[in-house]
Every structure is written in C-alpha cells, then in structure tokens.
Amino acid sequence: MKIELTLNNRRELFDVAPDEMLLDTLRQHGLKSVRRGCDTTTCGVCTVLVDGLAVPSCSYLSVRAEGKHVTTVEGILEEAEKLSEHFGDEGADQCGFCNPGIALSVHALKHHVNNPGEAAIKDALTGHLCRCTGYVSQLKAIKAYLEADEDE
C-alpha cells in the first residue's frame, strides 16, 4: 500500500504492507534511533510522535500514519542534544538505549502540559523502561532541562 506522510518535516512516500508496524517502516528507512525493545508496547524504546502525540511505534500500523506528521529523535535533534547534556550531568546516560524514546516523550510533555512538575515528569517516564538507572537521575535531568528551557 502506498502511503504519504510527513517524516521529520519532510514529505515521504512509503510502500507498506497492511499489517506493517511503523517501527519496521521507520527502521527500514534508516531511522535506527527508533528501537525495538520488548515489541509488546511495554518498554517505550520504540516511541515516536504522531501528530505530536507519543505512541509506541511497535504497535502502530504504518497505514494509520497516512497524512500525519511523524517525528523521531532525528526531527528534534537540537532539543535532544540539550536534554542529553542534562542526562550526562546527572549520570542518567548509561547505555543510552532508552534515551531517544524518553527524549520524544519529554518533547510531548513540554508541549501538552503547562509547567510540568515532578508528578507529570514521573508520569511521562512511566511508559519507559530503563535497565541501567533507577529513574531518579533521569527525573532530575528532565527537571533541570525543563527549567533551563523555560529560562531561554
């Protein structure tokens, strides 16, 4: 099936199978930041934004993305780099496998919640499994990033 969507602000055409998941379409397109973790909607490493909403791409049919805006971490690079500096400062950046998914969820949080506090950040982290940390360093890093972002 031929579908057209806007991927990281560029119109792209894809030929997808009816049961193909967005994760596979994006990875076949070379976007290896979108990762396959549990493949069952639990771990969050496959998170992408569809029309600004964070969704698990492992369980999102590619055909459903037709006409929509899809964003991966490559589409928010400047923002992700700033966030990763805070991750580094707090020691939240260990293997880094879960970082792209978290960066996209933080982006969505910033755009959907006014002045997100600790509870909102924890909520945004709930859908992400990190096997290196205990989430405290990530919580601190995201908090610092959001504060710095507000000051800019």
């Binding site: 009816p18 969050g44 369980s59 049919l61 969505a108």
Partner: protein, 264 residues
C-alpha cells in the same frame, strides 16, 4: 497477527457492510493489543475516519465515542470530579501515556478483557452502549452475553447520577496488569461493588450490595466478606487465590468507607 487487506471506511454503513461480508473481517479500534493477538484478518476495518473520537455531555449522560482514546478521557475535565474522579484514577493507571494515546475505549469494551482496569469502575456506573444496528444495550448485558456482537460500537453513555466513587488497582509494578482491581460507588442510597482481574472479568458483588441496601447501619466488613464469598477468585502466576481474596476483603472495606457520605 496477519492482515490481508486494510480498509478505512468513511461511513458506519460501509464499515458495517465490510464487517458482515466475511467472518474473518474484523474491526480495529486503537490497535494496542493487535500485535499480541494471533488473529488473521481478511479485511481489517479501521474505524479511525468515522468521527467517533469525542466526549460530549447532555442533561442526562456523558457520551463517549468508541474511538476516544484513554488519554483523551484522562485529560478531560469531566472526569476530574465525576464519582470522585474514580474513572480518571483507573485510566491513569493503565500503562504509560504512549499506550493510552492509542488504546480506545471501544476497543477496551469490545475486548471484554479480564485484566481491564476500565471495565471494573464502568460496571458500577449506569452505563449503556449504542451499537450501529443493534441499538442500545446495557453494558452489563453486553459483558454477560456469551455470543459475539457482530456490530460496531458507536458510543458509551454514562448516566449522570451524582455519587462518590473509589478505585484501586493492585499490581506488582506500574506497568503490570492488576493482580486485582476494585471499584466501589455510592449514589442515592445504593452501594455498588465491582471486582476485576480475579483473574476473571469484572463482576458486581450483587449479594453484598443487596445486604448493604437493606441494612440501616451498614457493616462494611460484613459486606466485604459477603462479596468475597459470592465472587470467585483464582490462582495465576501473578497471585494466589488466597492473596487475591485477602486483597479484595481489605480494599472493598476501604472503598465502602471512602464512598460513604460523611454524617454529622
């Protein structure tokens, strides 16, 4: 999961016609659990283009379109206070926001999932479902029906009674399915108690509810014991039958206490 053909009809009639064509044709709601199922669909019928993503309110009921996502419900002001925010508590505990952004209310209802945290509070409320051809059906009748309803769920209507509510999900981690979930409501002199993930699907404890209704001085411990006697519990890898029963006993009592209006 295998899909041979994908269709996104632009009318309910078209969607319904496709559904009736072949028993291997099936509807797609949010698609959150699609990947985990072993289904093979000849034609997958996506309901995304039917404008069924809405939350409306009239004088009698809150009307929620079947394609409304759990995230939309979670963020809607109506559920902040309705029955003490019970539905919001239940929705908010479903996985992370990423999954809530795709899972739909209609998919949750039609799936009749035994682990559902949403069905448990819903059956304590006065709810009815509107199907495209079958018309209106009380939620509990639909859930108890043994045969498959081969129709399209259009919306859920929750009657706007005034009441208080309590919901508790007990799970080993935030992302796990519930070992048990409990919902208790009180409205106009009537208590309702529902227990889900027992591991069976959510059920009302009708005998316990009746005894509370008949008593002038309700005994919550006694009602919880009665509820645990009439409901069945089982053992799975998540929990033993005894543990589930103990949890139910405690959280039903707490729920009854929480929803009871304070009297001077």
């Amino acid at each position: 999961m295998k899909i041979h053909e994908y269709h996104r009809p632009d009318s309910l009639e078209h969607a319904y016609t496709l559904l009736q064509q072949d028993k291997h044709n099936a509807l797609i709601g949010g698609g959150g659990w699609l990947k985990l199922s072993k289904i093979t669909m000849e034609k997958a019928i996506d309901l995304a283009a039917l404008d069924l993503d809405y939350i409306k309110e009239d004088s009698n009921a809150i009307r929620i379109g079947s394609m409304t996502t759990l995230a939309t419900m979670d963020n809607h002001f109506l559920f902040d206070t309705f029955y003490s925010g019970m539905l919001k508590d239940a929705i908010h505990g479903v996985m992370g926001v990423e999954l809530r952004n795709i899972v739909t209310l209609g998919g949750t209802i039609m799936g009749k999932y035994p682990f559902s945290d949403i069905l448990t509070p819903l059956i304590t409320l006065d709810c009815e479902l509107e199907f495209y051809k079958e018309g209106v059906l009380p939620l509990t009748d639909f859930l108890n029906r043994k045969t498959r309803v081969n129709d399209i769920l259009v919306e859920l209507r929750i009657k706007k009674h005034k009441g208080t509510g309590y919901f508790k999900k007990i799970a080993k981690t935030a992302l796990d399915f519930a070992i048990l979930n409990v919902a208790v409501t009180y409205s106009e002199g009537l208590y309702k108690i529902a227990v889900g993930s027992r591991p069976g699907r959510a059920k009302l404890a009708l005998n316990a509810m009746q005894s509370l209704y008949e008593s002038n001085t309700p005994d919550f411990k006694k009602a919880a014991t009665k509820a645990c006697e009439e409901l069945t519990f089982g053992t799975t890898h998540r929990s033993s039958e005894t543990y589930r029963k103990d949890l139910a006993m405690e959280y039903i009592s707490r729920g009854l206490k929480a929803v009871t209006p304070y009297e001077d």
